[in-house]
Every structure is written in structure tokens, then in C-alpha cells.
């Protein structure tokens, strides 16, 4: 079947009333979580996962994916209006977007941001459609050693690009790998680290774990401060960018799309790095770089294109290799598995309806986001102005109900609450949750592929160096680890020498 027939079938699936309405709900919830500081796409996807159990896999993934790329849109609204990024990938939009709002140009900033995201998203999805089947074909030819190395590289890249000291992110990754081993061992059937608790025989359940670690802990941290959102421009008129805005921004949009598409493929890089890279590029190629920081529209158009393009292309490693590129995609991977679908080289051939249905709904979702974000700006402004002390009990309630509804069990709720305390303490001590959750999800497949490789090679580690892909993966990971750890060993010595 050609690409056109496949995408046509995908659209037929995506246009089914249930799928269409859930796509809408997904992008609405996603935009909402992007607008609200304190509840990112990871927590939002984890929150809605239990509610998708009765849905078909394709419908569930359409809903959950909508949340993911919806959050990218929502984040830029608060960046422009309030100078508070709704989530990490929107940090760069504050730099030019907020000054534009201060000049009374919030409308064109929001407008170009929405249109740029639509154009970039659409082009990026075409890239996904064309490259994913090809990569899957290629991925069928690689075996456990290559998968292990690629997953190791992906995990190392994510920790390398995290905030704060890399060693702390690596510690969280190691912790995540250990937590992933809790439960029955697949090979021997032996329970590991369950402490005699039957509840843990299936391992630490993903949804309450993620909701506690990311959702509730974030709210606990936010309750400590009063987030005062000072909206600079309350009345937004003229959301359509002018012709001059378009002519200035169009090349920034195309450049951002290309940068975002390729960076989104790399685990760890993703929308955040893509938006920063695009900003850097726009400043470099601009005829007036000294004006950057004062409200230059290309500084909004480029990064917004990059971040949305990366958000779409991040699905490629997930669909084709089963390797999540970011923590939010990792939760989506969890969602796939819960619905009985294993992302990887066989996804497209075994579940074409899921792949093409989700891809088609990504087009529809991007259009819905444009329609949602521009006319509904007034609503989002009102939501930003709701005092956090009203919103937080609602979000907490939603988390409690969500956790309970997984198995109608209080055990899930208690587990979520225990991990919320862990997450709170982690945040106070500046440890990253992203590398923890990624390692937690990648740990079991990494263990499986490691064991398979060693059994295949009869204990010979050189199997990992025999194929070029595996070699590149391992060398890349080793390089990143060495560049992190060696400086730490070096700087200690002068300090010790000078101590009295």
C-alpha cells in the first residue's frame, strides 16, 4: 500500500466522530496544561491514561498525543502574555514575545506563534509519514545489541542535556533503572525488591508513579510560593500578523521547521533544544542582531516553529524503534504498552491503523490548535488569572480520582502520594525527574536486550562492538559519560590540596 492510500485510511480513522472529539479534548487539555505553570504534559498524560482504558488503542493514543503537542502551543501563550513559560520549550518565546506584548503587539506575537506552529507541524508530520516507514524497515534488520546501545545513548543524551549538574541527572537515571527492576523478573519469574508486597509483583505502576512524581509534587512546590501572574496586555486585538510580519517571519519559520525536525529525532534534544537552537540561528542570520531582545518577531516565529516541528518528529524514534526521545514521549510509550501495543519496528506493519490514524490526527490536531488558540485567547487569559489557590485543589482532586480509577484501589493512590513526597524532596534538592522516568521506562527493555545479547554471544561483550550502529551508540554514550565524570575527578584535587 502506498503512502497516499495509507494516509487516506488514516484520515478515515481520524475523522470518526469519537476519534475527532477525543482529539479535540486532547489538544484542549494539552493547551490548558501548557498555559498553567505547574502541570506539564508528563503529568497530564499520566492523569488521563486511566480514563483511556476502555477506549480502543488508536483512540487512546490520539487523545494522549493531542495533550503532548497541545502543551507546546499552550506554553507560548503564557510566555508572550505573562513572561512565565508554561513549559520548558516555551522559555525562548519569552525573550521576544513578552517585549512584543509590552509594545502592544501581543496579538501578532500570538498569531505568528500559532500560524508558525501549524506550518511547522504540518511539514514535520509529512516528514514523519515519509521517514517512519523507511526507518522501521531498517530497524527490522538490527538486533538486541544495537537496540541496547541506542537506548543507552538515548538515556545518556537525555541526562546530558538536563538542567543542573549532569552527575545528579545520571544518579536519577541509575535510580530509575533500579526502580524498573522491581517486580517479577520476566525470565526467572523471581520477585525482585517487592519486600513481600503483592501489589509490587507487577512492578511499580507507571501512572501513579508519574502522577505523584510530576503532578502532585509540582503542586506541593507551587503551594509554597504565590505565583503572581501580571498580565501586561489584557486586551488583545488584531491577532492576525500583518503582511510585513509574514514577510519577515516566513524564512524563520522554514529554518525553524528544519532545525526542529532533525533535533526532535535525537533523544534528549527535542523541543527545548530545538527552540534555543532556532533562536541562535535567527540571531546569527539576522540583518539586525542587536535588536534581538527588544521584540523581534522572527525570534518568536523561528523557535515556535522549531519546538512544534520537534514535538512531531519526536514520535519517529518512538514509532520506529520504541525509544522515547523525551520524558513526555516516555509516558506515551507507557500508554502504548498498557493498550497492548509495542512501539518499535513492527508497529507500522502490525498496527497500521494505529500509526496512520495517529499521524492523520496529528494534522487535524494542529489545525484544531490554531482554531482553539486564536479565538480562545480571552479564555486562556482568564484561566491564567485564576488564583492558584483555587486551581490547585482541583488538580489534586483530579489526580486522586485518576489514580483511584486505575484499579479502583486505594493502593494506587497511596503509592502516588508516597512518590509525590519523593518528587517534592527531589525538587527541593534539585534532582531531575525527567531522567528518572526515562530510565524507569527504558530499564526493562534495556535489561531484556542486554541479557539477550549476552546469551547470543555466550557472555562475550564484544558483540556490542561488532556492528557499526552498536559501536556508535556505545562510543557516543561513553564519550558523554567521560566528559561528565573526568572533570569532576580533576577539580577535586586542587580543592583538596588547598584545604587547611
Amino acid at each position: 500500500m502506498g503512502v497516499f492510500e495509507n494516509i487516506a485510511n488514516g484520515f478515515i480513522t481520524a475523522f470518526q466522530p469519537l476519534n475527532l472529539s477525543l482529539c479535540f479534548i486532547g489538544v484542549l487539555v494539552g493547551t490548558f496544561t501548557g498555559v498553567l505553570p505547574g502541570l506539564g504534559p508528563v503529568a497530564a498524560i499520566a492523569l488521563l491514561l486511566p480514563l483511556t482504558f476502555d477506549l480502543s488503542p488508536v483512540t487512546a493514543i490520539i487523545l494522549l498525543s493531542g495533550i503532548y503537542y497541545g502543551a507546546m502551543y499552550g506554553g507560548s501563550t503564557t510566555s508572550i502574555l505573562v513572561n512565565i513559560p508554561g513549559e520548558a520549550a516555551s522559555v525562548v518565546t519569552c525573550i521576544e514575545g513578552y517585549p512584543m506584548a509590552r509594545q502592544g503587539r501581543a496579538g501578532p506575537a500570538l498569531g505568528i506563534s500559532a500560524f508558525a506552529s501549524l506550518i511547522a507541524g504540518t511539514i514535520s508530520i509529512i516528514g514523519v509519514m515519509i521517514s517512519a516507514p523507511l526507518i522501521s524497515e531498517f530497524a527490522l534488520k538490527i538486533g538486541p545489541p544495537e537496540f541496547f546501545s541506542l537506548m543507552l545513548l538515548g538515556l545518556t543524551l537525555v541526562t546530558y542535556i538536563s538542567h543542573g549538574p549532569v552527575i545528579k541527572a545520571l544518579m536519577m537515571a541509575a535510580l530509575g533503572l533500579v526502580l524498573g527492576t522491581v517486580g517479577l523478573d520476566n525470565v526467572s519469574g523471581l520477585p525482585r525488591f517487592t519486600l513481600g508486597i503483592k501489589y509490587l509483583l507487577d512492578g511499580v505502576p507507571l501512572v501513579p508513579f508519574a502522577m505523584g512524581l510530576f503532578g502532585i509534587s509540582e503542586i506541593l512546590v507551587n503551594l509554597e510560593e504565590t505565583l503572581h501572574a501580571e498580565i501586561y496586555q489584557k486586551k488583545i486585538d488584531g491577532i492576525f500578523p500583518s503582511v510585513k510580519d509574514w514577510t519577515t517571519s516566513i524564512w524563520a519559520i522554514f529554518r525553524g521547521t528544519v532545525i526542529g525536525f532533525f533535533l526532535g529525532l535525537l533523544p534528549g534534544a527535542g523541543p527545548v533544544i530545538a527552540s534555543f537552537a532556532s533562536y541562535g540561528v535567527e540571531k546569527r542570520v539576522s540583518k539586525y542582531p542587536e535588536k534581538f531582545g527588544t521584540g523581534v518577531i522572527e525570534g518568536v516565529a523561528g523557535p515556535e516553529s522549531a519546538n512544534n516541528a520537534a514535538a512531531q518528529s519526536a514520535f519517529i524514534p518512538l514509532f520506529t524503534l520504541g525509544i522515547p526521545a523525551t520524558p513526555a514521549i516516555a509516558i506515551l510509550l507507557g500508554g502504548f504498552v498498557i493498550h497492548g501495543i509495542q512501539p518499535g519496528p513492527l508497529l507500522i506493519s502490525n498496527h497500521p491503523d494505529v500509526f496512520w490514524g495517529v499521524v492523520a490526527s496529528m494534522y487535524i490536531g494542529n489545525v484544531m490548535l490554531l482554531i482553539l488558540n486564536l479565538p480562545m485567547i480571552g479564555l486562556w487569559v482568564k484561566i491564567i488569572m485564576i488564583p492558584y489557590v483555587y486551581l490547585s485543589p482541583l488538580i489534586l482532586l483530579f489526580c486522586l480520582i485518576g489514580a483511584f480509577s486505575i484499579n479502583y484501589s486505594s493502593s494506587d493512590v497511596y503509592l502516588m502520594l508516597m512518590f509525590s513526597i519523593v518528587g517534592y524532596l527531589m525538587k527541593k534538592c534539585k534532582y531531575e525527574g525527567g531522567s528518572l522516568i526515562l530510565a524507569f521506562i527504558l530499564g526493562p527493555p534495556m535489561e531484556k536486550t542486554l541479557r539477550q545479547s549476552l546469551i547470543m554471544s555466550q557472555g562475550d561483550f564484544s558483540i556490542f562492538f561488532q556492528s557499526p550502529i552498536s559501536l556508535i551508540g556505545l562510543c557516543g554514550a561513553a564519550f558523554l559519560l567521560i566528559t561528565t565524570i573526568v572533570p569532576l575527578l580533576r577539580t577535586r584535587r586542587p580543592a583538596l590540596g588547598v584545604k587547611d
Binding site: M171, L190, R192, F193
Partner: protein
């Protein structure tokens, strides 16, 4: 007393080091196997070793720093902070305990009342109106529309 990030880093690194020792000891009990045939303890052992090594390294990194890095992380000792966090956690843990006893409607109502009234005190009229509204909307969305079967409790609601 202002708790600096450095102290927290040292404490957390030691705790994680301790945890990694527990993991390594546990892994031995599960049989490491051999390189030909890795056992159930193989992967967690290596995870534990890596975690232990990194925790030790981090501890040394932080404790041998010459200058005390006073990063603005917010003291854990501020009274209001403790009050809000403790209250919220108690209310959160109470929810699943009360749910099977008094049912979804009453538990949700009380949950919202406690948080709205005591986190940042509001007038009772606002608190009660909001709590009733939220409870009704939650009931409609979760019990009626999404058909989640909550326990009915002793009052049957």
C-alpha cells in the same frame, strides 16, 4: 537555620549511597548468574553499583567545594511553608482512607472545603459554594459520564 543546597546534596547523596548498598546486597540474593547467562540480580546489581559510585562522587564533589554555595532554594523551615505542605499532605492521605467509609460525594466535598478554607483562608460562603460546585461537577463527570464506580460509603452516596 538556613538549609543550604550543599547540605541537602550531601545528605541526599549519602541516602542514595545507602540505598545503592541495599540494592547491591539484594541483587546478590537473587543470583547474579554469569556473563553467559545473566541472572535476575545482574542488571539491578550494576544499577546499584553505578548509583553508589555516582552518589559517592557527588558527595565528594559537594563536600570538597571551597566556597559554600548559597543557592536560593528556599528554606525548608519557614512556618507557612510547613503548614501548607503538611495540611495538603494530610488531606491527600485522608482522601483514600475516607473514600470507602463516607463515599465519594462527602469525601470530595470535605476535601475541597479543608483545602480552600485552610490553605489561604477564604470566606465560608465562597468555600461552601465552590465545594458544592466542584463536588457536583466531579460527580457528573466521573461517576455519571465516565462511569467510574466509586464506593458509596455508609451513607449510600
Amino acid at each position: 537555620m538556613n538549609v543550604e543546597l550543599r547540605n541537602r546534596d550531601e545528605l541526599s547523596s549519602l541516602l542514595l549511597l545507602l540505598f545503592s548498598l541495599f540494592v547491591c546486597i539484594g541483587s546478590y540474593r537473587y543470583s547474579i548468574g554469569s556473563l553467559h547467562k545473566p541472572g535476575p540480580g545482574f542488571f539491578p546489581l550494576w544499577g546499584g553499583i553505578i548509583l553508589g559510585f555516582l552518589s559517592l562522587l557527588n558527595f565528594l564533589r559537594v563536600s570538597t567545594k571551597r566556597k559554600r554555595v548559597t543557592e536560593e532554594v528556599g528554606s525548608l523551615k519557614s512556618k507557612k511553608r510547613w503548614k501548607n505542605i503538611t495540611l495538603t499532605l494530610i488531606t491527600l492521605f485522608a482522601y483514600p482512607s475516607f473514600l470507602p467509609v463516607i463515599g465519594f460525594v462527602l469525601t470530595t466535598f470535605l476535601f475541597i472545603v479543608v483545602l480552600l478554607r485552610f490553605l489561604e483562608p477564604k470566606r465560608w460562603s465562597i468555600v461552601l459554594r465552590t465545594a458544592v460546585g466542584v463536588t457536583l461537577i466531579s460527580y457528573f463527570i466521573f461517576q455519571y459520564w465516565l462511569k467510574i464506580q466509586f464506593p458509596k460509603g455508609i451513607f449510600g452516596i
